[in-house]
Symmetry: C2
Subunit: 362 residues, 2 copies
């Protein structure tokens, strides 16, 4: 996810740090809902599929959370996984063999690790480390991790596809910031970037995860065979793009700035991920499932929730590109547009998936 | 080093973060001098004493730097150690067996890890992780580290001895902020805190370091058998204390605030460390040596250097206790007093030691 192209400010994208009103820590409600919805599934998946023999004696059990952000969701997820691993030992009568745990919290170097580190739960039952760096490249030593977890992170691409920013390319994405309802060339450029990134992701993890180790991936996407519009992120960024174009028409921002802003996000289907896993060849798919819908169906609060959620995710990027002064107007406009479409938004918010992969022995 | 006593603000003491004029990153010249002076000694120590058989095949070589602060000194030290380990492999004809390296950068949770993480050298040859927490307790899993390094950190105590802050104790350290020229009871309270802390330090490391693993400790102190004044830190804090009392007499600050401020620093002798190692029983002393003097003998610049150096180390603490407005006056005063005593200061700046310990098999 590290930026290697400075022509588009939407490249490096840590969540809003600190604990202010628009911070990730205060507004990661949708992600928290997904964590909650995933909780039992993750626990069951670990209990059902983990082989505790992958741990050599006297070794510690190493868990990595990729794209951890600043908490608290990462702490809930980690605690849940540790409980599951412990339960697995207990259920096999190996209570006395329960290992020490080390948890490696990974995110971009620009993530607010200071905040993460001072937020650790008291009496945590694991040794903690922060690991800065893009998970599209290697971040851990060879065969050093037993369980990888990543929630709401792998839908971020490593970069915006170059072509969509290139005026002279047929994939130039003029007047939009994402690929929904864009030209075919734009969609194909995003697809190609996804394929390339997922190849890098799986290649890196195949080296880092011990044979038999597990990888739990939770991500928003769209169902197999559905239209591009059936993904929350796609709908969101189409609407956000149209709000930005409204501000262009009002003369508040320039159209060039919109043209040079594209969101490095791809809403994959489970099938696309499965294809990438097959292509990589190092993992077996153990579980692939829809998550239960993360929200109660309170449609009234959906627009505000969506606006807060989106603002948390992209405020830093929008501010950098368009200036702080447009933020309130932009996200108010966004909320209004969401109100017209609240039911559709509510539906696609349920398109979250869990995939559990196992590292095969070579 | 984590504070567990809030009655004294000099408890938690990260170096000044960021990269401003008084930051550690810009003013760690003395420490850098020590790193430079130690460089060849550390390299030779690793080449001479490391047994590469401690690394099982397919494992990565794990180096921990305790009290790493924000760089760049930690990066120089790490690079130097990796070169030494690689040289050891090469010198034994095992070039092809050179392992991957993982470096664990440890400091207080309040250390500026964000700055550390964005400062990593380009093309570093190791996987990096930040590990927040006091090194007076466990910070790594059991038997997980091959080489521990700590430079200019273990002279910080985990806390100020309680008695020296207690008005009703014979060890109350009225009108001073450190133990040089203080009552015997004060000195004994500091000594006892050092003994307790070093016991915790060695106990934690004995569990974390693999059998045969090494620990390289570099610290400012005083020579065996010398007076307490023969340590740079002791001289510094006596002088700083007298400057604070000058400000008390001028009515700038209150004497109560000086009474409730004590520096959690102890200037050990190599013998005291050796005694602690014997008491602990898990390590053998492989090397114990004076470091070459870190500075060229330019006495003119010493007072300014000392003032900048000290300010970098304690500015955060002084600001919190006495207010930002006294900083310039205080450190100007300190510089002036150093000018009268520059030669003595220059001499004790040379009292830095290197100790290499090996984890014995039980």
């Amino acid at each position: 996810m590290a930026a290697d192209d400075t022509s588009n400010v939407f490249e490096a994208h840590p969540m809003e740090g600190g604990d202010g009103p628009n911070s990730y820590a205060k507004n990661s409600i949708v992600q928290r809902g997904v964590v909650d919805a995933a909780k039992e599934l993750v626990k069951r998946a670990i209990v059902e599929t983990l082989n505790i023999d992958i741990l050599s004696s006297s070794n510690s059990f190493k868990i990595a959370d990729l794209g951890c952000s600043v908490g608290p969701n990462t702490f809930y997820a980690v605690e849940n996984m540790i409980e599951a691993v412990e339960f697995k030992y207990q259920s096999q009568g190996q209570n006395s063999q329960i290992p020490e745990f080390q948890v490696l919290f990974n995110d971009h170097a620009s993530n607010d690790f200071n905040m993460l580190f001072i937020s650790f739960p008291e009496n945590k039952r694991y040794y903690a480390a922060g690991v800065p760096g893009s998970f599209y490249s290697r971040v851990f030593p060879n065969a050093s991790i037993h369980l990888v977890h990543s929630s709401y992170a792998i839908h971020w691409l490593s970069r915006v596809p170059k072509e969509v920013l290139d005026k002279h390319s047929p994939a130039w994405n003029k007047g939009k910031i994402h690929y929904l309802n864009a030209r075919d060339e734009v969609v194909r450029a995003y697809e190609a970037q996804y394929v390339e990134d997922m190849e890098c992701f799986l290649h890196a993890r195949a080296q880092e995860i011990v044979y038999g180790g597990l990888m739990v991936l939770i991500f928003p996407g769209r169902p197999n065979g559905s239209a591009s519009s059936q993904a929350w992120a796609n709908m969101s960024f189409q609407v956000l793009g149209s709000c930005l174009m409204d501000l262009v028409r009002k003369g508040v921002i320039s159209e060039e700035k919109v043209d040079s802003s594209n969101m490095p996000i791809y809403s994959m289907t489970p099938q696309e991920l499965e294809d990438a896993v097959k292509q990589n060849g190092c993992f077996s798919v153990e579980i692939m499932a829809n998550l239960p819908h993360p929200l109660v169906d309170d449609t009234l609060s959906v627009p505000q929730l969506l606006a807060s959620h989106l603002r948390t995710g992209v405020e830093g990027m929008v501010k950098k590109q368009f200036g702080e002064e447009i933020l309130d107007e932009l996200f108010d406009l966004y909320r209004e547009k969401c109100e017209h479409d609240a039911l559709n938004f509510l539906a696609v918010l349920g398109h979250n998936f869990i995939v559990v992969l196992r590292r095969k022995a070579d």
